[in-house]
Symmetry: C2
DNA sequence: GAGTGGTCTAGACCACTTG
DNA sequence: AAGTGGTCTAGACCACTCT
């Protein structure tokens, strides 16, 4: 099988990077030089370079040239879904409490409420195979007309709850991950001894313009949830023929 | 400021997605239709669509058309660096032990050693501001000529240790994140009581062809390390003029 | 002023999906 | 057979950098 020209050049340069023939900081030949060297059009060269840039191998400095990037090694892809653990077992939830309350100072701060507005509280227990695996508290600024149908709350993930009628594309989410141990009330709810290790995941949801629309903390039994993350270059495997030089 | 044509079309379509005028599953007009509608060349249309595809908004089905994607909501960007916590405080390490040992069954399994090969063990304590913050164990298949200079081991992150003379581009890394509590020996090393919450991070390093070249576990004091992850679309803010319709 | 990347055009051929 | 996206070409103009 013959690869398209732009992929051949893409792989050619990528391989030189892997082999160390091109090191971070090095400059690539110019677009015109590459086009001439490989007898292809400049447009095709640009296609190859664009792929390398997307994949993070190189960057372009207009007026100067293309350079090999220092690989970013501290950003990982993390998989996380409230309603599924890593093994894909789905989670069922039981509502403990749904309320509309006036926020305390802490909540007003976390939700960055501009004025004193009512806040929806949802407390749930998560089950997998009829065993309690997590406890969950969520807070959302109250908006008129927000549906609070029990069935929805039981099955919905946080974005689904907070983003009714909003495009899922337009929100931002952040996670904070901590290790804690169970104490008092949480121990009782989760039906465990005190000092049991818990994975605490704090979620925040924002609109595109950075308004906080949701804040939650979920406490997972450590034996139930283990988070996975990975890092690798060139996830898109264009592993094909190199271009002959 | 006038945006380039392809960015205008890019934003135009992106905004339609945000507003919900285009929903996941919907088909876009064909390249030729868009080119005619906006009086631009097909190449420029393709540039816009390519950007939307990169950003995850759409995908192309050759022979059919372009479609709006269901947003992937369970993949986050996680920042993690052994030698820096999230606040950027750097970490110093103290070597406890460096050894070359014959692997036990567990190690052979984790490192997927094809035969019985010697393994390098490195045990370290991490300090920040003269306080112990983590304990770390690393295992790497022994290779002749691997440098074990003490100074290097003290300062190096795992990839740097295991990938001497290899291109950092060509490796893969995976993390597993768990919550545990300190017990026995680890409590002593970290100078804490038993049952103290710890964030356990297990790292594995692979070559491009999936050979395991390193395995490690690091136990962080929960009060020292909190992991951060985030999710958002269109991180690259091309927020500029929309294209007039 | 020569060279670099950034943008855009018009036109061509292909392999594929659809009716 | 008509339409779709995928690939590639040759040529043009721009803003920028470097010397």
């Amino acid at each position: 099988m013959i690869a398209p020209t732009h992929l051949q050049l893409f792989n050619n340069i990528k391989n030189k990077i892997y082999k160390g023939l091109l090191k971070p900081g090095d400059m690539l030949p110019s677009e015109n030089e590459l086009a001439e060297e490989y007898n292809i059009s400049r447009v095709t060269v640009r296609k190859s370079l664009s792929l390398l840039e997307q994949a993070g191998y190189i960057y372009s400095a207009p007026g100067k040239g293309y350079f090999i990037r220092e690989p970013v090694t501290n950003k990982y892809i993390l998989s996380f879904n409230e309603m599924n653990n890593t093994n894909g077992q789905s989670i069922f939830s039981k509502l403990l409490e749904v309320n509309v309350i006036p926020p305390d100072a802490d909540l007003m701060n976390e939700l960055k409420l501009p004025e004193e507005r009512y806040v929806i509280v949802i407390k749930r227990l998560f089950f997998s195979d009829n065993t309690v695996v997590a406890y969950d508290e969520k807070y959302m600024p109250y908006e008129k007309g927000l549906p609070l149908v029990e069935r929805e709350i039981k099955c919905a993930t946080f974005p689904e709850l907070a983003c009714k009628n909003k495009s899922l594309f337009s929100i931002k989410k952040s996670l904070k991950i901590r290790s804690t141990t169970s104490q008092g009330n949480i121990s009782k709810l989760l039906n465990i001894e005190d000092n049991h290790p818990l994975l605490e995941i704090e979620q925040k949801l924002y609109t595109a313009d950075n308004k906080v629309i949701g804040w939650s903390k979920t406490y997972y039994l450590s034996e139930f949830l283990e988070l996975n993350a990975y890092w690798s270059f060139g996830q898109n495997s264009y592993e094909m023929n190199d271009m002959s030089e």
